[in-house]
């Protein structure tokens, strides 16, 4: 007899879903094969390349390592949910203008990790960008321009927040009671 499925209720890009999932599936499988959201890419399968990066309750994670049952009650944001009503997010615009896209396979993961960084460390300088994006590999060697795109957007968005992420994180904080430490990491205005 095969193991029982798990029942999960979750949202992706502000759309709610409820379904039965195999425990042995991952979030990446659910996104790509169940929801047909194929913008999130399959890379190394070991959490080393970052191609499958999505936001889980506002935090960047490797979707290939999140077991499907674990997404119950969570909010997920993927590349398809970035930008509003067809308009590009400033980070996406920066990627295009800075020439930070070559084959494009790492790009969705880079954008999601970039968004995480912009929300957590809005004043990030280039050093910080290099450090915090080091979980995303670009085999075409586009690091230089990608870092420029992210650092430029960070500078532009110093005072801004990404609404989706802020709200999601706020909800999570209220849920778990995570303390001041977490708030400081988000760089909330004092």
């Amino acid at each position: 007899m095969s193991p029982a499925k798990a029942h999960v209720a979750f949202s992706v890009n502000a759309v709610s879903y409820e379904m039965d999932v195999e425990p042995s599936w991952t979030l990446l499988d659910v996104l790509r094969d169940r929801l047909d959201l194929r913008g999130t890419k399959r890379g190394c399968g070991r959490g080393e390349c970052g191609a499958c990066t999505v936001l889980l309750d506002g935090e960047s994670v490797n979707a290939c390592l999140v077991l499907a049952p674990e997404i119950d009650g969570r909010e997920i944001t993927t590349i398809e949910g970035v930008g509003k009503g067809g308009a590009l997010h400033p980070l996406q615009k920066a990627f295009i203008e800075e020439g930070a896209i070559q084959c494009g396979y790492c790009t969705p993961g880079m954008v999601m990790q970039g968004l995480h960084l912009l929300a957590r460390s809005p004043g990030a300088d280039r050093e910080q960008v290099l450090e915090e994006m080091s979980g995303n590999l670009c085999c075409c060697g586009g690091y230089h321009k990608i870092a420029t795109a992210v650092a430029r957007t960070a500078a532009e968005m110093r005072q801004e927040r990404i609404m989706m992420i802020k709200e999601a994180v706020g909800r999570k904080n209220r849920k778990t009671g995570a303390g001041k430490g977490a708030a400081r990491a988000q760089g909330r205005k004092r």
Binding site: S24, R32, D36, R38, G39, T40, K41, R42, G43, C44, G45, R46, E48, C49, A51, T78, I79, E80, V82, G83, L88, Q92, F95, I96, E97, E98, G99, A100, I101, Q102, C103, G104, Y105, C106, T107, P108, V111, V129, L130, E131, M133, S134, G135, N136, L137, C138, C139, C140, G141, G142, Y143, H144, K145, I146, A147
Partner: protein
């Protein structure tokens, strides 16, 4: 931003910093790569591979696999009817009698789910009779070594290459200074970000469609036809967006044919999508190369001769690597001016994974040897590295001993500019070093097949949309954007109106493939020619419709304008509509085929295999950490002569990309044999991305400076030359020269890992690694 060429013509689009035409699709997750493809009713294919490097296959039992629920078909070497593949047709697609390397394909399964396919694969029982295996080409050449292929005694691949110009042996003896050395580069994996993929589907009439991430769709179609015994006109190859290729997709590989075999056996579409792990361990490798080189120089500092012997590890079966010596010869006979050259290359079969093409096709390991010896000779002469190189630099409109016909050449400027931009005269801190290295590469196509041509069809629609349909593949390098810019420039339309259609082998004009940095040059010229024909047609109709002479007509800004009386003008789309919607009207579609003026190399390796050549000089300033052996790149300068630069931003990005890839090869990358020895510091002998050492953001140089010396090439479209590969060729050599400068001892093998650097420091004044 506009750019002027020295013909005094101002370009509107060419030379500007333009966003790539595919950028907005990719940045929103909308680009469809092979792994994203969904075909109705598709099955998942998985391959069963040998865990041993050399063995006789006694039995392959698939009975348990067939009983796994969800499995539709299982095939093995015995029942798969197909011809062998490979450069010398020495590789069976599915191995029936013998396996010759770890990862050899033994069987394949197609099932309804990935899980079922994987479970079935694990249920296939194989009995092996292990044979002795050999992993070093020099060992493989010994009489007692195990023989891999019957027709290759002593495991020498029957494709031996030799070149002679002048009398290198004699001239070296008489030269004032001679430097000799041996150099090694290891097996590497191109590590494409997108793992390999192929999907096959037979329609109800038995016609095959194959989706593949391939650099050579037309060649793939030909091989499939011969291999499967299907007439070529019943096969179509389609490329989705590609996540990088770097030479790993230049040949036809077993998994592509296996997808078709599984589709045929199951009667349903089958997709084979590798995992990242499979990609690193099973992709086409860059081969291990052993170079022995001697270079001589006269008292005045002129190069006199080079003598070179290359041994390549072909791996278990032949692919393109055995032809790479033709390009390695470029570095030996044509980089800088030297009259006497002796060159020999041999490829040897071993039980290592088969090696194929890797970026720049053998040029990097050759330059690694050649450019280090340039520094050593400069030192013997008491000359500085920059002056010595400039003294021997190639000149425009010259011919090399290999009969390469150089047209435009900015090498001298590249050397000088690179040296100055890196601050070669600036004071160095302790453990800091500066190194230079140049390269010559094909810039006007690369005649590695009998034809080096490429076709283009250009259509102008009644909305002014320009559709370009070429056979030119883009693997991510940005050549598509360059083609669009060429069309926009020639037809005088905004770039936004131009659309490069992702074609397939049914609709696209024939093209030899994406390699040798040929796309911008070859397809660019084809596109340019087709656009010129279109423009003539537009001008003819414009003259009629506006009532002025054809000579008076200007096409720009998306409009047709009468030069003499600018009030007489018409929007281009209106013109097209007018011509469509009329009795006896016309459509605006033109085609062109461009085959560059070059030669297929003859048996003695001479021949102008490209229509023109690109040059580049890299200069690097780095610091060595004597405690850990780590190397920190402080400043990396690359000065490039790629002719006229078409997309300034895009080309800079590609060169930077090449530099990062070159640095990975120089400092970190080597492929461990799956199941091979554990390396100190590695937690597991299996190779993963991290273990494979793809560099990260943190390993980026502190400063990268990419600069262009724009020569105006007489043969290239708008004066442009090819560009995709030049970024990585001289990197290892420049880094080695800089490390030698910092430490005082030369690294002679790649990668220059921390343990090697520490060994160099310890052995200063003595032996090298």
């Amino acid at each position: 931003m506009t750019g002027d060429d020295d013909r005094g013509r101002k370009h509107t689009v060419i030379g500007s910093r333009t966003a790539r035409v595919d950028a907005s699709l990719k940045v929103t997750g909308g680009a469809i790569y092979g792994h994203d493809l969904v075909l109705p009713g598709m099955l998942h294919g998985r391959i069963v591979r040998s865990p041993v490097p050399h063995a006789i296959l006694r039995s392959v039992d698939v009975s348990r696999a067939r009983r796994v629920p969800g499995v539709v078909s299982v095939i093995t070497g015995k029942d798969a009817a197909c011809q062998p593949i490979g450069f010398l047709k020495d590789q069976p697609v599915l191995k029936a009698d013998r396996v010759r390397c770890v990862r050899d394909e033994i069987a394949a399964v197609a099932a309804v789910t990935e899980e079922a396919a994987e479970e079935a694969c694990r249920a296939i029982d194989v009995e092996y009779e292990p044979l002795p295996a050999v992993f070093d080409p020099f060992e493989a050449m010994k009489p007692e070594a195990p023989l891999l292929h019957q027709n290759a005694p002593r495991n020498r691949v029957p494709h031996y290459l030799e070149f002679k110009a002048g009398d290198a042996e004699k001239v070296l003896e008489k030269s004032e200074h001679v430097v000799e050395g041996s150099y090694r580069t290891p097996f590497t994996a191109p590590a494409c970000p997108e793992p390999s993929f192929a999907a096959a589907s037979f329609d109800s009439a038995g016609r095959l469609s194959l989706w593949a991430s391939t650099q050579v769709p037309f060649y793939l179609r030909d091989v499939l036809s011969k291999c499967l015994g299907i007439p070529g006109y019943r096969i179509k190859v389609i490329q989705p967006s590609m996540g990088g290729a770097f030479g790993a997709r230049l040949d036809v590989f077993p998994y592509e044919v296996i997808a078709a075999l599984l589709a045929r056996a199951s009667g349903r579409p089958v997709t084979i999508a590798w995992s990242g792990q499979e990609e690193v361990e099973c992709c086409a490798t860059g081969q291990a190369v052993f170079v022995r080189l001697a270079t001589g120089v006269s008292r005045e500092g002129r190069l006199t001769a080079r003598k070179c012997e290359v041994t390549l590890d072909a791996g278990a079966y032949t692919s393109w690597s055995v032809t790479q010596p033709q390009i390695m010869l470029m570095a030996v006979a044509s980089l800088y001016r030297v009259e006497n050259v002796a060159f020999r290359a041999r490829s040897i079969y071993t039980n290592n994974p088969p090696s194929s093409a890797w970026t720049a096709y053998g040029n990097p390991p050759a330059v690694f040897a050649v450019e280090q010896q340039m520094d050593e000779l400069a030192r013997k002469l008491g000359m500085d590295p920059m002056t010595f190189r400039m003294l021997n630099a190639n000149k425009p409109e010259s011919t090399t001993p290999q009969k390469l016909r150089i047209r435009s050449c900015g090498l001298k400027q590249c050397i000088e500019t690179a040296a100055h931009r890196v601050g070669i005269d600036r004071r160095k801190e302790k453990w800091e070093g500066v190194g230079l290295a140049s390269a010559i590469h094909m810039g006007g196509g690369g005649r590695m097949f009998k034809s080096d041509g490429g076709g283009a069809v250009v259509k102008l629609s009644d909305y002014g949309k320009v559709s370009i349909i070429t056979g030119a593949v883009e693997a991510g390098s940005g050549s598509t954007t360059a083609l669009a810019m060429i069309a926009a420039e020639e037809l005088g339309v905004p770039l936004e109106w131009v659309h490069v259609v992702a074609g397939d082998t049914d609709t696209a004009a024939w093209d030899a493939g994406s390699h040798s940095s040929r796309t911008t040059f070859v397809s660019g010229n084809a596109v340019l020619e087709a656009c010129r024909k279109l423009k003539k047609q537009v001008v003819r109709h414009g003259a009629k419709l506006l009532g002025c002479a054809a000579d008076d007509i200007e096409v720009k800004g998306g409009r047709v304008i009468c030069r003499g009386d600018p009030s007489k003008s018409m929007a281009l789309d209106r013109l097209v509509r007018a011509v469509h919607f009329t009795q006896g009207g016309e459509i605006f579609i033109e085609s062109a085929f461009y085959d560059p003026p070059s030669e297929f190399p003859s048996r003695d390796m001479t021949g102008n295999l490209s229509a023109t050549y690109t040059f580049t000089t890299h200069a690097v300033r780095l610091r060595v950490d004597p405690g850990t052996g780590r190397v920190r790149i402080l400043k990396y300068v690359a000065v490039n002569d790629n002719g006229k630069v078409i997309n300034r931003g895009g080309l800079a990005a590609r060169v930077e990309g090449g530099i990062q890839q070159g640095l990975a090869l120089a400092l970190a990358q080597q492929l461990h044999r799956p199941g091979g020895e554990e390396e100190e510091g590695a937690a597991s002998p299996r190779t993963t991305f991290r273990d494979y050492r793809v560099l990260t953001f943190r390993d980026s140089p502190e400063e990268i400076d990419v600069h262009f010396v724009e020569t105006d090439d007489p043969v290239g479209p708008f004066g442009a030359k090819g560009a995709g590969e030049t970024g990585c060729i001289p990197v290892a050599a420049a880094v080695a020269n800089a490390i030698a400068d910092a430490v005082g001892v030369r690294p002679r093998s790649l990668p220059i890992t921390p343990d090697k650097v520490l060994a160099l420091i310890r052995n200063r004044g003595g032996a090298c690694s």
